[in-house]
């Protein structure tokens, strides 16, 4: 059984006069100790998907369908009480703006202690403090951080605090939403390496949401490529990023410098994201796709098996149907 099984999840936002189809019919699996990168441009729905699975979207304006099974339990259907029990114990998250990840007017140690008590209200103060100090040490932070306020730390340090906090209950699943995007390259690499070590020791599966292909290439086993709320292609990093099948993935790959150091011209993808409040009639990428045919504009391509653990949603790619 997969640790997290996402089945046909769609998320729509309702604003004043329109509906935004932010995530459409997304299915994917995350196994124990897996590491999955979800990539796509901003607005591709990758963050919405993560927030949706965490149930952190404003529930009065969104509409969710599908299932997200965490160890067999559907998060999307949980009642508030059970959800609060599961949160942080089984899955935790690190956000992009870690500078604002904690309350600016409370000391960091105090907040971590308070969060610990959410799930173990009667734990001895000494035990909690020891735990927090050991966590800080694990992410290479000095002890003084315990008594510091968020603004007294640098961006990189706060990112480490956020990571330490996310590991406090040794969850099964860690979601990192653009967690290292705002950092400089050196700090980013250091932190990523630390995380990989930590999750090996703690048996943690990780979902990494990013628009940075190189981060996915260097830290993830699997990759999910999203565009305009849909999955275009998913599979092992070694397959998908080396030999991309979907025209969009190809386009993305050629917008980044090659990993092998080969000098090639960088190309972007022509055009812009489609208007997400209009429900598409065909492939969402068709308007920007150089290979689009008439069929692409009329029919929505489903994900098809291309190889082992490899799926592509494109009429052009030769593959066997899932059905």
């Amino acid at each position: 059984m997969s640790l997290l099984e996402i089945k046909n999840v769609s998320i729509n936002y309702h604003t004043n006069d329109k509906t935004v189809y932010a995530v459409q019919d997304v299915s994917m699996n995350v196994d124990e100790q897996d590491s999955v990168g979800i990539v796509g441009e901003s607005g591709s729905g990758k963050s919405t998907l993560a927030m949706g699975i965490l149930r952190l979207l404003p529930e009065n304006i969104i509409e969710t369908s599908g299932e997200a099974l965490l160890e067999g339990e559907d998060i999307l259907a949980m009642d508030t009480k059970h959800l609060q029990e599961v949160r942080w114990m089984k899955m935790s998250v690190v956000f992009q703006k870690s500078m604002n990840a904690l309350s600016p007017v409370h000391r960091i140690g105090y907040q971590m202690e308070d969060i610990y008590r959410v799930h173990y209200p009667n734990e001895d103060k000494k035990v909690i403090q020891d735990k927090i100090y050991s966590l800080l040490k694990m992410v290479n932070l000095p002890e003084r951080v315990y008594m510091s306020y968020p603004h007294e730390l640098s961006g990189g340090m706060m990112q480490r605090v956020a990571i330490a906090l996310s590991l406090i209950f040794e969850p099964k699943l860690l979601i990192m939403d653009e967690a290292t995007t705002a950092l400089d390259v050196v700090t980013q690499t250091q932190i990523l390496n630390e995380i990989i070590d930590l999750e090996k020791n703690m048996n943690i599966a990780r979902i990494m949401i990013t628009h940075d292909m190189s981060v996915v290439a260097s830290t993830c086993k699997k990759v999910v490529v999203m565009y305009a709320g849909r999955i275009m292609e998913q599979g092992l990093v070694n397959d998908v990023l080396v030999n991309p099948q979907h025209p969009y993935t190809k386009g993305l790959m050629s917008s980044f410098p090659s990993f092998t150091g080969e000098r090639k011209n960088l190309k972007g993808i022509e055009g812009n994201l489609p208007d997400m409040s209009i429900y598409p009639t065909g492939c969402v990428f068709a308007p920007r796709c150089p290979f689009a045919t008439e069929r692409c504009h009329k029919e929505i391509p489903q994900l098809k098996k291309y190889g082992d653990n490899w799926e592509v949603a494109c009429f052009q790619s030769g593959g066997t149907s899932n059905e």
Binding site: R87, S92, S103, D114, I115, V118, H151
Partner: protein, 321 residues
């Protein structure tokens, strides 16, 4: 922190110095002979003029005059009221307690009620209650306090006859002890209510908008993701963050409350500073007016410093500078 406080003290001192300077300049720039203004009548007697020239050193160069004036103030010497022949200081002292009584009561009630309403409105953002409170707060913001006071008298004192029209106690009865306290409290109801109604919109809006602001911060999302209950997030984290602007505004309001209360005191014939102010204006009792102004400046300067220090204490982000 020490440097921060010192800097604040410097600004406060500068404010007081400016006020003294304004006082000095205004009277000398005023049309006509300053002795006439200082004496408070059009044809002061030669003795009065001589006394004034002596006291203010009016024959001496301007800079020396300023120095004389400043020295007198430093000694706490605000001069005599030419109308009542009491020292200005005595006059003010007899009026300050009633003023502080309604000003503090009003400010605290306004703070409590306004903030509470703001919290409720923020929690039910977009609800009927929220919309109603938002619109009515505009209305009370636009209402001159003295007019509201007059309307309160009209409705609750004259038509409904629930409360007395004016004064601080019943002059016909010589109440003592508890009866006196209750009598004063009874007389306080209308002026304090007026003050509270005028104050509520400020605290309401500040509480509401700072709570909404805090609720949209990223750390709220983190806390939610940890499984913390909404109740705890709100009362422990949102409130602690959102209270900062309210505290600041409350401090500033306290500083200005004497002017705020003055109008309402006049309407309700409350024997406080406002009444003294009005009397001094109508009788052109310049020394008294200028003393009230200086006192006000000092209290504003002091309060601002206190607020800044409290602010630094409740908001750790301020302390680094």
């Amino acid at each position: 922190m020490r440097k921060y406080i010192l800097k604040r003290l410097g600004s406060g001192a500068l404010v007081v110095l400016f006020s003294v300077l304004f006082n000095f300049v205004i009277i000398r720039l005023a049309p006509g002979d300053p002795t006439r203004l200082l004496a408070g009548k059009d044809n002061p007697s030669p003795e009065t003029i001589a006394a004034l020239r002596e006291r203010f050193g009016l024959d001496k160069p301007l800079l020396e005059q300023f120095w004389i004036y400043f020295k007198q103030l430093l000694h706490g010497d605000f001069g005599y009221s030419y109308v009542s022949s009491l020292t200005v200081w005595e006059l003010i002292r007899s009026r300050i307690v009633p003023t502080l009584l309604i000003a503090f009561t009003g400010a605290f009630l306004g703070l409590l009620i306004g903030t509470a309403l703001g919290i409720i409105a923020a929690r039910k953002k977009g609800s009927k209650f929220d919309m109603f409170m938002c619109s009515i707060s505009y209305f009370f913001d636009s209402t001159p306090s003295f007019w509201l006071g007059l309307m309160m008298i009209l409705l609750f004192a004259s038509i409904l006859k629930w409360f007395p029209t004016y004064g601080m106690y019943n002059v016909r009865q010589n109440y003592t002890g508890m009866a006196h306290v209750l009598d004063v409290a009874y007389h306080m109801v209308l002026p304090v209510t007026t003050l509270v109604l005028i104050d509520i919109p400020y605290y309401f809006r500040i509480a509401r908008s700072s709570i909404l602001q805090t609720m949209s911060e990223d750390f709220i999302m983190t806390l939610r993701a940890t499984g913390m209950s909404e109740q705890k997030i709100f009362f422990k984290y949102v409130m602690r963050n959102a209270i900062i602007p309210t505290v600041t505004v409350f401090g500033i309001t306290l500083a200005y409350m004497i002017t705020g209360v003055a109008m309402i005191e006049i309407v309700f014939a409350w024997p406080g500073m406002g009444r003294l102010m009005l009397d001094s204006i109508t009788k052109r009792d310049y020394p008294t007016l200028s003393a009230i102004y200086l006192l006000l400046s000092i209290s504003v300067a002091v309060m601002t410093i206190v607020v800044d220090v409290v602010y630094a204490w409740i908001d750790p982000r301020i302390r680094i500078e």
